[in-house]
Symmetry: C2
Subunit: 451 residues, 2 copies
């Protein structure tokens, strides 16, 4: 009898594992379960769908359930796994439409339940819907099309919160963005985040920092009409939670899988759950090793989920691949600015007790004389004794943020800034001045470490 | 008495050396000689000046002679060095306006004469002017403003040739671009270059390949009106040479400085001319070590010139810095496409007897559903046994080419493609699909080398 692989979760991590395993071993029986109606969709694309840059939610789906089935995967949607019995190697699954439960056996298992938005623990929260799921986004968009209400409030000035705020402004709404912190985008240092706040405010978003949500005020139909905050009441016909996401681990915990210090499912570098044979985890529900902080972290990002799924699926089918960890690289476009970050920020270095020097430079995205040259700020964080690059942040106009990948590659390889400053990076006036901003910043830090 | 540093050549290499040396050692006497009237200008910016993206040639000048003087450099323009006497440590210089000659002593010398366009060896060539100098560009622009003639011919489908052809099309001229080779942009492999040819032709440039120039046909005033080629006669009121540049070495050769196998002035990794104490060379006239080909090359690029000048100027003033070499990174924007390249191309690998595997993938510059997502092709060349990345080429729409810097950093560090495919590069829909095109390409090559 062929081996049977069961996958819990029909999104990036799970379906990458399922697809790779099936491709590498066509004799493997692969079955996958997804609570929702959709598979393999881009949660990151939802703000653009809400903004109407993307008209139809189908465009966000990279592979439909039918396509997975055509690839030989027994894909069950609207089917929730309610129990994992590791001893018997059996899942209990419930068909949500029919309400029926049944058992499904497995030889190997991929746990890929993803993450879920945390709802603010305030009265009225039950009227809110998660921002990063397709079905709620479809409902939101249909309300917006119906022009129900002109006031939107976004809770949380994360990347997602800012993207959703921009989407609502694009649609002509009055938008307020609140956050308890005293800056937007907490993964950036405050000096860099300030530029992103400028961009948001420049597009008409009202940003209220150091502001705590106290209550979502509902009308007699149970629909939000305002929120009460530590800074007073704010009118809000639409309230979007974007205060953070948490890994979905309840099922794993109940089954006895280990939960790591980051709160996500613990895995080794082969995506195996330690101590349990043939059980893997991948994606937003799983931990990753942070190569600079040297500890496990939980970073929810489709690109990690895909890679981890690929590693799991390859190892399930006789491969020997290690997921090499993450360095916290991220990028976003908010109104007229782009932001990228990688490695550790100044604040993260401080918090982790890592010695560092840092420098921030301002330059232009193109040669100063070339049309469309815009501002770009590059911040580097380096080890003061070796000069090794520990992290970088880039903020600026079009063409700025993707440069973060050069910094990511340097952080990844542990390149010293003394070497970086003489790297053979590309130059032509439509793309940079004769010294790329990245090199200018490297030179400034190199001076500080004596290079 | 203070030491005296003399610099021959008032552009990137020479003036970087002069400026750095002066900044590091304010007691050093620094004197610099430049044949032309301008200093520290961006030759790379000239096509944009001709296109009128940049109105005034002053905008191309990063530091004027006056600014250099304010920084304590005795800057002599319109002054040509006609002889270097290394034994007596004396230069002979000629003031071009006054026609006077005099001698100038030095303790240390930076030779930074740059490069000069090669003129086609055909009858009528004497009517042509170099494309990469400010004064001829000013004359060309003034003719174009006067609407003298509607037909332009560019000789050489190099980056520069294509940029100049685009500039002329922008100004409404009929433009023909000819090249003896059977592809445009010889530093790209033919498959990648074909896309750039598409872009040029899509903008209305007539591209004639495998076409040799035989004569520039002049009217009775000695001005071009057509050219004769191996494919027939072509009308041409403006003829722009862009068939390549050569290092300016005559003065160095006469002085007994060593000329390397690349035809440029030989230097060690400290930019010292071997065997001659206190004499340095930097910039387009000097050789660089190619880290992949493992031999000296001569690549004319402002970014190398600046870095080499910085290394020379630092070492002249007690520093101990090595120029780490180049890997042939370059980038250009031609009409609707951008192109980048780094390391060795497939053809270069073949010619150098380097074993390789390669792969080309097509993807999108943004998530496929995000507005403005355009085509991008990524080609990687890797070592078949170790998987080490040897080179890369990227062609595509806006946002494509600067990704070459990630490949450059990987080539620089010798990263294997098996490692590259799992690099933590940034992801968000405005910038890429969930797998960056660079990672997709890395995965495809990794498969070929068994990763």
């Amino acid at each position: 009898m062929p081996e049977r692989l069961a996958v819990i979760g029909g999104d990036a991590g799970g379906m990458a594992a399922a697809s790779v395993a099936r491709r590498r071993d066509p004799d493997l029986e692969v079955v996958a379960f997804e609570r929702g109606a959709y598979t393999s969709y881009s949660a990151c694309g939802i703000p653009y769908y809400v903004a109407d840059y993307v008209e139809d939610s189908d465009e966000l789906i990279s592979r439909s359930p039918e396509e997975h089935r055509e690839n030989g995967i027994a894909m069950h949607t609207r089917t929730e796994v309610t129990d994992i019995d590791l001893d018997r190697r059996v899942l209990t699954v419930r068909e949500l439409n029919a309400g029926r439960e049944r058992e499904e056996g497995f030889d190997q298992l991929v746990y890929a339940t993803g993450a879920r938005e945390t709802m603010p623990p305030v009265p009225g929260w039950e009227a809110l819907e998660p921002a990063l799921k397709i079905e709620p986004a479809e409902r939101l968009k249909s309300k917006l099309r119906g022009a129900e209400g002109k006031h939107a409030l976004v809770i949380g000035a994360s990347y997602l919160g800012l993207e959703m705020a921009e989407a609502m402004v694009q649609r002509g709404l009055d938008v307020t963005l609140i956050d308890m912190a005293d800056q937007v985008m907490g993964s950036l240092d405050p000096d860099m985040a300030a530029h992103m706040q400028d961009a948001a405010e420049g597009s008409g978003i009202t940003v209220m920092l150091s502001t705590a949500l106290e209550e979502v005020l509902l009308d007699s139909n149970g629909r939000p009409h305002a929120v009460r905050t530590s800074q007073g009441e704010i009118r809000a016909d639409h309230v979007i939670p974007a205060a953070g996401v948490k890994p979905v681990t309840a099922l794993a915990e109940a089954a006895g899988l280990e939960i790591g210090e980051s709160g996500a499912v613990r895995v080794d570098d082969h995506q195996r759950c330690p101590g349990v044979d043939g059980v893997f985890a991948a994606g937003d529900c799983a931990e990753s090793h942070h190569r600079i902080l040297e500890r496990p972290v939980n970073i929810q990002l489709g690109t990690h989920a895909n890679k981890q799924g690929w590693v799991a699926g390859s190892n399930i089918t006789g491969g020997d691949f290690a997921f090499p960890g993450v360095i916290g690289t991220a990028v976003a476009k908010i109104c007229r600015y782009e932001a990228g970050r990688t490695g550790v920020s100044e604040r993260e270095a401080s918090a982790a007790g890592i010695d560092y020097v840092s420098v921030t430079i301002k330059s232009t995205t193109r040669a100063a004389y070339y049309p469309g040259a815009g501002s770009i700020w590059v911040k580097l964080v380096a080890d003061p004794s070796s000069g090794r690059l520990l992290g970088g942040q880039i903020v600026g106009e079009e063409g700025a943020a993707k440069r973060i990948d050069v910094l990511a590659t340097c952080v990844w390889t542990g390149m010293p800034v003394q070497e970086m400053q003489l790297l053979d990076l590309s130059y032509a006036p439509p793309f940079s001045g004769v010294y790329d901003p990245v090199l200018i910043a490297a030179r400034q830090v190199a001076k500080k470490v004596g290079g």
